[in-house]
Symmetry: C2
Subunit: 500 residues, 2 copies
C-alpha cells in the first residue's frame, strides 16, 4: 500500500513540476518575455500542459487511487496523506470525464477567442467577439454536460473554481447583498458629499513607489527570499512552488493608488501561497483551497488591513517620507480619499462598495447566458442596462462595458462570483480572528502584522487544498458563508467616511 | 513514410518544448529566481530533463528512425528533413548507449560535485573537491566506455562538444599553436612595454553601461524583439527558441571592460541562435553546430570586430558621450588599453593572446587525467607548474588556480578545447569573409554590421546542427581547421599594439 502511495506521489511530483514550470513560463511571459516569442511560448505551454495532462489521466493513476481506498479510510479524513488521495481522486474523476478531443479543442478555441477579444476590446467592437463568446458558451455547456450537475447547469462551472458551491446558494447570498448595497451606493450619491481625492493624483516617482511597495509587503510578512515582485500589464500572483511566489504589479507615475493597492492585494495571495504546508509540496494540494478563499486573503490584506485607519496610522509617515506632497494632506483626508465610494465603469478599479455590484451583474448575465435567457448579440445592452440600474452609470462604449474582462475569452464562466465570495469570507474570517486577537487594531497601528499572518497561516494557508472551502470556513468560523458581517463592515466604513 | 516523419517531428517538438522550458528555468535561476527556490528549481529541472529523456529514448523513436532510412537516402544528404533524420539518429544512438541508471547517477553526482566545488573554490580548499573530481573522472571513463572510441579515451569526451573532433587532431593543432604563442607572450614581457590601462578603471554608471551595451548589440544586429539582456553572476547566452534568445551580462561599476566585452561576446552567441533557419524549429537541430563553431561567433564579435581599430573608430565617440572621462583619452591609447597582453591567473579574464595557453594547460591536464598519467591529488601542483611554464606566473592559491572553472564539477571534461578551436575558426571564417566583403573594415568603421552578419547567417548560422563542424568549416573555407591565420592575426595585433 505504501508502495502504491509512493508511486502516486512520484507521479504527482512529476506533474506538479511540469505545472510549476508552466507557471514560470506564464509569469515570464507577463513580466520579461520579448514580444517576438509569443508563438513559441504558446506552443511550449501547450506542450507542458498536454504532457502533464497525459501523465495525470493515465489508467495506472486511476488504479493506484482505487487501491489506496483502504489506506485512505484507515488514515481518516483529516490525515494529510488521506487528503492527498481524496482530493487527487476528485481531480482525477473530474478530468477523466473530459474527452481528450474536447480538452484540445477547448484549449485551441480559447487561444483564438482570447486573441479576438483583445482586438475587439481595443477597437470596442463587440460584434467581432460575438462568434467567440458563442463558442465559449457552447464549450461551457459541453463541459457542464460532461461533468453533470443536479440542479443548475451553472453549478458545474462554479464547481471548477469554488468546489461544492451551488448556483442557488450564490443567488441566496447575492440577492440580499445586492439589496443591501444598492441603497448604500444611492445614499452616498444622494448625500452630495464629494471627497477630495486630488492627493492621490500627481507625479510619484515609480522607483520610490516600487520601493515603498516592497517595504510594505515585507512588513506584511512576504518572504522576499522565497519570492519577488515585477512590473506587468495586469497585476497577478503566481506560485512556482511555495518557495518561489511572484507578484506582478502595475505602477502609474500619476496615480499612487495603482501600485500601492495592487501590491497589498497580490501580497495577500502571495502570503497564502508561501505558507501552505510543505507536506503538500509537489502535489496539487499545494495551492489555495478555492478562488474565493484565495481572494479572501488578498482582499483582507488590501482592504481590511490596507484601507484601515490603524494601518495608515503606522504607514502614513512612511508614505510622507517617500512622497513629501502628503505632508500637506492630513491622515484623515488621505484615509477618506482611499475609501471613496464612486460608481465607475471598470470592475478592477472599483471601490470596496460598488465592486460587488460589478460582480453580481456578471453573475446574473452568465447565468442567463447558460440558461439561454439572453440573446448573446444583446449582451452589450443587457450589460449597460444593469450598469444603469445598479450603479447609475452607462458605459459610453463596450470597451468600458461588456468587453472589459478577459474571463469569458478563456472559458472561465463561473469564475466571477468567487471575487464577491472572497469579500464576504474575508470579513467572516476577520471577525473570527478579532475574537482571538483582541489587540488587532493596536497591532496594525504599530505595524505588527505577524500575529494576523500567523492566525491566517494556522487556520487557512497551511491546509492548501486539503479541505473544501465551505468545510474550511465552517471549521474556522463555526458557520457557513454569511454576507451579514460584510454588509456591517461596509456600512461602518461608509459611516466613518461619509458620516451617513 | 511522411506519417512516420510527422510522428518523429511531433515527438521532437514535444522534447524541444520541454528542453526550451528547461532553458528558461535555468535562465530564470541565474537572472531572477529568489534564493530560497533553489531546491525546488533543481527538482523541476531534473523532472523536465527526465521526462524529455524518456520521450526521446523510447523504442518507437528508434523504430521511426529505422523506417525513415529509405526516405533519408532518397532526399539526399543536404536536404533539411534528411538532415533531421540523420542528426537525430546520431543523438538517439549516443543516448541509447547510456543506461538510464548511469544517466541518473551521473546527474545526481554532478549536482553534489558542483555544490562541493563551490564550497572548495570559496575556501580555496582543493582536498574538499578531490573526492568529487575523482568521481567525475570515473564517470567520464564510464561514459567513454559506453560510447566507445577508436584511438583515445578522450575522443569520446570531445565528441560530445565538437562532433567528429579527435584528441590527436587537437594535439596537432594545439602543440604548434602553443609553440607560436609562448614566444609571443615572452616577447611582450621582454619588451618592457607597459601599456597604460588606467582609463578602463574608474567609476562608470552601471545604467549607462547597460544602455551603451544595448546600443552596441542592437547595432550588431541583435533583435531585441526576440531576446533580452539581464544581469547575472556569470555571463552566458541561452535560447528558449530562435525567437527568445537571452544574454546574461555582468556589470562592474569600476571596470568598463566587464560589461562591454561580455555583451559583445554573448551577442555573438545570440546572433547565431537568433538566425538558425526556422525549418529546424522544435527540433534538436535548432542550435549551434558545435561549441567550437558557436565560440567562433562570440569571439569574432568580441575580438575581431569588438577589439578592432575600425570598430572603435565608429564606437569611440559614443563611448565618450556615455562616459566623458574618455574625452581625455586618445582613441589609439584606448585601443591599446583594450588589447593589452598580460599573463594572469583567471582564464575568463585573459587577453586574446594568453587565453589559449589557459586552454592548452587544461587540455593537457584532462588528457593526463583520463590517461591516468596524473595523480589527481597532485592536480594543483601540475596546474601551477604549467602556469609558470606557459605564462610565467604562479597562482597564489587554488581558487585562482585549479579550482577556478566550473566545468569538471558538472562532468564537462572535453569541453575546454572548444574555446581555442573557436578562436582558431573565428579567424578562418573572418579571412574567408574578407574575400567576399572587401570593404569590411570600412563598413565596420561606419558601424555597418549587416553585411558581416548576413554573411555569417548565410554560411554558418542558418544551418543549425545540420552539418558536422569540420564539414561546415570545409564547405565555407575550402579547408580544414588551421591555426595559421589565427597566429598571423595575433602577431599582427601584437605588432600593432606593441610595435614588436
Amino acid at each position: 500500500m505504501q508502495d502504491t502511495l509512493n508511486a502516486l506521489k512520484v507521479r504527482l511530483g512529476t506533474i506538479s513540476d511540469l505545472e510549476q514550470a508552466s507557471s514560470l513560463l506564464h509569469y515570464d511571459q507577463e513580466a520579461f518575455m520579448p514580444m517576438g516569442a509569443s508563438q513559441a511560448r504558446a506552443t511550449q505551454m501547450a506542450t507542458l500542459s498536454s504532457v502533464s495532462h497525459d501523465l495525470f489521466v493515465a489508467d495506472e493513476v486511476g488504479q493506484w487511487l482505487e487501491e489506496l481506498r483502504p489506506l485512505e479510510q484507515e488514515l481518516g479524513h483529516d490525515d494529510n496523506d488521506a487528503s492527498i488521495i481524496r482530493v487527487v481522486r476528485q481531480d482525477y474523476e473530474r478530468t477523466r470525464k473530459l474527452p481528450t478531443e474536447y480538452v484540445a479543442r477547448a484549449a485551441e478555441t480559447y487561444i483564438l477567442a482570447n486573441e479576438q477579444w483583445r482586438k475587439a476590446r481595443a477597437d470596442s467592437d463587440f460584434p467581432l467577439f460575438l462568434p467567440w463568446v458563442r463558442k465559449c458558451v457552447d464549450l461551457a455547456h459541453e463541459y457542464a454536460e460532461y461533468q453533470g450537475y443536479e440542479d443548475h447547469v451553472y453549478d458545474a462551472l462554479l464547481d471548477q473554481f469554488e468546489p461544492g458551491m451551488k448556483t442557488r446558494e450564490v443567488e441566496s447570498i447575492f440577492t440580499p447583498l445586492r439589496d443591501e448595497i444598492t441603497p448604500l451606493v444611492q445614499a452616498v450619491a444622494a448625500s452630495g458629499i464629494k471627497i477630495d481625492t486630488a492627493c492621490l493624483h500627481g507625479q510619484f516617482d515609480p522607483l520610490a513607489q516600487r520601493s515603498l511597495g516592497n517595504v510594505l509587503v515585507s512588513a506584511y510578512g512576504f518572504d522576499v527570499n522565497r519570492g519577488r515582485v515585477d512590473e506587468v500589464t495586469h497585476p497577478f500572483c503566481t506560485s512556482m512552488s511555495r518557495d518561489d511566489v511572484r507578484m506582478g504589479t502595475r505602477v502609474s507615475a500619476q496615480r499612487i493608488n495603482e501600485n500601492l493597492f495592487s501590491m497589498l492585494h497580490e501580497c495577500g495571495h502571495a502570503l497564502y501561497d508561501q505558507n501552505i504546508d510543505s507536506c503538500f509540496d509537489r502535489t496539487s494540494l499545494s495551492s489555495g483551497c478555492s478562488l474565493g478563499l484565495h481572494e479572501s486573503q488578498s482582499r483582507m490584506w488590501e482592504n481590511l488591513v490596507g484601507r484601515s485607519r490603524p494601518f495608515w496610522h503606522w504607514a502614513y509617515p512612511m508614505l510622507q517620507a517617500y512622497f513629501p506632497s502628503f505632508h500637506a494632506v492630513g491622515l484623515d483626508d488621505f484615509y477618506k480619499a482611499i475609501n471613496t465610494v464612486n460608481p465607475s465603469f471598470i470592475r478592477v478599479e472599483a471601490d470596496e462598495v460598488t465592486y460587488n455590484l460589478h460582480i453580481m451583474l456578471r453573475f446574473e448575465l452568465e447565468k442567463a447566458m447558460m440558461e439561454g435567457q439572453v440573446d448573446l448579440a444583446h449582451l452589450p445592452q443587457e450589460w449597460n442596462d444593469r450598469m444603469q440600474t445598479y450603479l447609475g452609470v452607462t458605459p459610453p462604449n463596450d470597451r468600458l462595458g461588456v468587453l472589459q474582462d478577459v474571463h469569458w475569452s478563456f472559458g472561465s464562466l463561473g469564475y466571477f462570483p468567487t471575487y464577491s465570495l472572497g469579500n464576504i469570507i474575508s470579513v467572516q474570517l476577520w471577525e473570527t480572528c478579532r475574537q482571538d486577537l483582541v489587540d488587532l487594531d493596536a497591532q496594525l497601528a504599530r505595524g505588527e502584522f505577524a500575529p494576523l499572518l500567523a492566525w491566517m497561516k494556522e487556520r487557512v494557508h497551511r491546509h492548501g487544498r486539503k479541505h473544501e472551502p465551505m468545510e474550511l470556513l465552517r471549521k474556522i468560523t463555526g458557520a457557513g458563508i454569511d454576507a451579514g458581517p460584510y454588509v456591517e463592515y461596509l456600512k461602518a466604513k461608509i459611516h466613518d467616511v461619509y458620516g451617513i
